[in-house]
Every structure is written in C-alpha cells, then in structure tokens.
C-alpha cells in the first residue's frame, strides 16, 4: 500500500490528570496528498487543535504515528510550517525580522545572506506586507499580523502548511480578503495545507476535502467530504453554485443535526 504524502495512522490521544484518563482523540487516520488543501472542522473542544499540534510535533500522540513524506514525525520542525491562531509574532522584532528569524535559521547553510534577504522580501510581498517590513507587530492590524504569520510559515518552505484557525480572530471582511489570498498562494505554490476551522463557509470555499470531527471526548473522524468545485473559486459565483450549496448543507447537517454540541452540564 502506498502511503499518502501526509499520513496520520491510528492516532489516539488521551490526557491523564490525577489518575483520571480522558480521551481526546480515538483512532484518527487520514491521508493527505501532496498539494491537497484539507480542512478539519468540528465543534470547539473536539480536539482538532490537538490533532494539528500532533502533526506539528508540538504534542505527542498517545499511540499512532504521523508520516510526512515517508518520515515519522516525532518533533516540531520547519518542514511543517505552523500559522498559529493568534499569529504568535515576536513583538520585539519588526515584521521583517520575524520572517528573517525563520529564514536565517532554516536556510543558514543553503542560502547566502543576500539570497535570504530576497527570500524574506519575496514572502512578505507574497502576502502584500513588503511595505510594512520595518513596522513592529503592535503597529499593524490583526489581519496584517496574520499575513506576516503566514509569510513566516511559507518562508520556511514547509512540506505541509498547518493553519490553526488562522482567521478566527479577524472581522468578516478581513477574513474574506485573507481567504482569497490563501487561495491564491495555494494556487501559485501548490502547498499541501491542513487547516483547522470552525467556519463552514471557509471550509467549503478553501478545501479539496473537509474532515468532520465528532464531538469530544474521544473524538474521531465522522465523515470526509469531497468538495469537487473547480479552481479558481470565486466566492460571489459560489453563492449560487449547486455543488457549493450541497457541500455546505452536508457539513451543516453533520455539525448541527448529527453531532450537535451537547452543552456540558
């Protein structure tokens, strides 16, 4: 059997606190092909962020293995660029320095100083942040911060880009703008992307496949939905596209009928 580019195999995750075991994820298996855009959607608390952290190597799975390009993932590394939920830029560095910190570390041997500078600028231009390179994170808007976060992750030339609810903290207009930008970057560079989201429209708009998680505890993959909409996708046209509407209602049905979030008593 040939393995997928990114392959999650029988991931279990449980935490133990004061001798009480709580399962977060059970038997999560998933294959992601090279260049594919995958979204993972589920109600909050279903362990989707935990899953992303396991792929990133920031959290260890209790059992199960993650393979990326044939290699076992057991520690964080620059081959999995993470865009964190709250941008996680270092406030004492400028926009440029935040990206160059990553570039200088990852390409210290393979690129010359001038090449690294060009590479930083290319990635900042890719997210249209080249103009603000000397600003500090506190001086730019939330959407701009997230764009720099994306530039930093892209600049590492990761094998897979991991987005952890990247647009969750943004207003709707900024969010739409950034979604378009991510689609454009994905079309240009053909990255493999795994995105965590709780926004149905975002998932359908961006993804090739949507992985729907059941509610925790002991969440598992409930269903995987193909989104057979041709790219490039335009959000205005999609609003009336029958495939879009079908996919959207399938996700909604899964989330709100079959796996309605049960309020914790």
């Amino acid at each position: 059997m040939s393995k997928s580019y990114l392959s999650l195999e029988f991931i279990d995750k449980s935490f133990e606190r004061n001798g009480v075991r709580s399962d977060v994820l059970t038997q999560v298996s998933l294959g992601v092909e090279k260049g594919e855009f995958i979204s993972i959607i589920g109600h909050s608390g279903c362990g989707k962020s935990t899953l992303l952290n396991i792929v990133a190597g920031l959290t260890k799975a209790t059992t199960g293995v993650v393979f990326l390009d044939g290699q076992v993932v057991d520690a964080p590394g620059p081959d999995r660029g993470v865009v964190f939920q709250n941008h996680s830029l270092l406030p004492w560095l400028t926009v440029y320095e935040n990206v160059s910190l990553a570039v200088d570390k990852v390409f210290s041997r393979t690129k010359s100083k001038a090449e690294r500078h060009d590479w930083v600028m290319r990635n900042l231009d890719l997210v249209q942040m080249g103009h603000a390179k000397d600003k500090r994170p506190s001086e730019v808007s939330g959407g701009m911060k997230q764009r720099v976060g994306i530039a930093r992750a892209l600049a590492m030339e990761p094998k897979v880009l991991l987005l952890d609810e990247p647009f969750g903290a943004l207003d709707a207009l900024t969010r739409a703008h950034l979604q378009d930008q991510v689609m454009q970057i994905h079309a240009e560079l053909g990255n493999t992307v795994m995105m965590i989201t709780h926004d149905v429209d975002e998932a359908v708009l961006l993804s090739d496949r949507i992985v729907m998680m059941t509610n925790g505890p002991a969440a598992r993959i409930g269903e995987v939905l193909d989104v057979p909409i041709a790219r490039p996708r335009r959000r205005i046209e999609l609003a009336t596209d029958p495939t879009y509407i079908r996919c959207r209602s399938a996700v909604l049905k899964f989330l709100y009928e079959r796996h309605r979030l049960v309020e914790a008593a």
Binding site: L58, P76, P78, F84, S88, L90, W92, L101, A102, K105
Partner: protein, 297 residues
C-alpha cells in the same frame, strides 16, 4: 518591593513580583491663553515643582527660624555649608573631600556591587525560571534570605573580607540581587507558550532560544527587577558606609553628625536624593531603549 512567592504555576498569568509605581499625570487642563509650545511645556512641568519647593523652603525657614531651633533653617544651611556647596571638587586630606568625591566613591561601590548583582541575578533567575527542580531547591532559601536586612550582612562580610570596601560592595550585591532574581524568574516563567512553540518549530538551539526569545521576552520583567535593585542599592550604600568609614557619602553624613555639622548633613541629603533619582532614571532610560518601550512600569 512587594512580597512574592515564586511558587506560581508556570501557566498562570502572574503579575510582575514587584512593580515600580510612577504617578501618571492627569490630562492637562485646556489653557485659557496661548503660549509658544515649548514655553508652555516648560511652564507646565517646571513651574509646579518650583512653586512647591519654594513653599516648602519658606515653611522650613519659618519653622526653624528661632535661635533655639535644633535644626538649621535653609538660610543657615547656606551660610554654614557654603564652602561645601560651591566647591564639590575640593581635594583635601583623608576624608576631607568635596561632595563630588564622596558621591563618586559611593557610586563606584554601588557600580561594582550592582553589576555583580545584575549578572548573578539574571543568571540565577534564568535558572529557577527555567528549571522546576532548581526552583524547588533554591526558591525557599531565597525567600528566607531576601528578608534579611542588608545591614545584617555587614558584620558577616567584614568578618569574611576583613576589609571595609569589599564588605560594602557585598552588602550592595546582596541587597540588589533578590529583586533581580525574582523578577527574572517570573519573567521567564511567563514567556507565552506561543513563543516557545515558535522556537520549537524553528528548532532554535539553547543559545538561540536564550538570546532571541527568552531574554527579550523577559526583558520588561528583568528591568523591573533591575530598577528596584538600583534603588535598594543606593539605600543600602549610605547605611553601609556609615559603618565602614572612609571616603563615601554615608561616612560623610556620619562624620558630619559626629562633628555636629547639621547643615552639612542637609547638603549631603540633597545630593543623595538627586543621585538616587538620577540612578533610577538612568536604568529606566536603558530599559526603555532596550525593550523599545515595552516596559510597563
């Protein structure tokens, strides 16, 4: 310095263990008449303290004007200590020096003791901020030791060093080191998980993590510790020098008291106050420059 227990959970959002309180100014009232910008700023900032000072001096003059008063009035201070005031660079025999040289000698001791305290404090603070084991081992001891008054260390250090100067430096060191240790440790414990994740994804090594993440992230806390430390150092040096003798502002005050030169003591206090204020401002300026205004003090 506020009392702080270092036994905080590392994920708890702990406040800096001690903070420096500065009074912020209320919004200036809208001026009824217009003045050129810099004149107005000058008038707004310089006039009120000058008026307050003048008022205090007048009150002091009035209260101490009777011939039987035990303390000299400002006019008598000027009269009696005029030589001291006008010639701070006077060089005489032994401890008979101008004010500048006394202050300079004290500052030298503070500089050495404080520099050692800053280095040791940041190093130890980093250690107990980083390692739970080190914290469990060292923190209880530090919490006890830091309550020992600075001067209580002096006899012990005199016994150990058998000399006044290193003893005074040691007292400065032991006074200033605790707030630096504690604030550094709290700062390092409070480094957000996000920054640690970033460093893990980038695979920063220990040295890179220390210089690129840990120090800048903890810098606002470290500088809070350093600012408290410099204030305490200056408090301790005067007391320590009273006991060890030699050239130094502390001994100068003690000597003046023994010679009943009360006016000289008052001049010396003015110097001590101004120098202490300047030391605090210098550390604050450095903090601002280094952390680019990120110090919330």
């Amino acid at each position: 310095m506020s009392v702080t227990n270092l036994n905080i959970k590392s994920d708890a959002a702990a406040k800096p263990s001690a903070s420096i309180v500065t009074l912020s100014r209320a919004a200036p009232p809208s001026a009824g008449f217009r003045m050129p910008g810099f004149v107005k700023t000058l008038a707004d900032n310089v006039l009120p303290p000058i008026i307050t000072l003048a008022f205090l001096l007048v009150a002091w003059e009035f209260l101490c004007s009777s011939p039987t008063s035990s303390l000299p009035a400002p006019s008598r201070v000027l009269e009696e200590s005029w030589a001291l005031i006008v010639d701070p660079f006077y060089v005489g025999q032994g401890t008979d020096q101008g004010m500048f040289w006394h202050i300079f000698a004290s500052l030298q001791r503070v500089a050495v003791g404080y520099a050692l305290a800053a280095i040791a404090g940041i190093a130890l603070g980093t250690l107990i901020g980083q390692s739970d084991l080190a914290m469990r081992g060292l923190d209880p001891i530090f919490q006890v030791l830091r309550t020992v008054p600075p001067l209580a260390w002096l006899p012990l250090s005199l016994a150990a060093f058998r000399d006044g100067n290193p003893s005074a430096i040691f007292v400065i060191f032991i006074t200033a080191v605790w707030p630096v240790i504690i604030n550094t440790a709290v700062g390092i414990r409070n480094i957000p998980q996000d920054y640690q994740n970033v460093s893990k994804v980038l695979r920063l090594n220990g040295y890179e993590y220390f210089t690129k993440i840990m120090l800048p992230a903890a810098a606002p806390y470290i500088f809070t510790g350093l600012r408290i430390g410099i204030g305490l150092s200056w408090l301790a040096i005067v007391a320590a020098e009273m006991l060890i003798g030699g050239v130094g502002i502390g001994f100068f005050i003690w000597d003046a008291w023994n010679s009943s030169l009360i006016s000289d003591i008052i001049v010396a206090l003015v110097y001590v106050g101004i120098v202490g204020f300047l030391l605090d401002r210098v550390i604050a300026l450095i903090a601002n420059a280094v952390t680019r205004g990120n110090v919330k003090a």
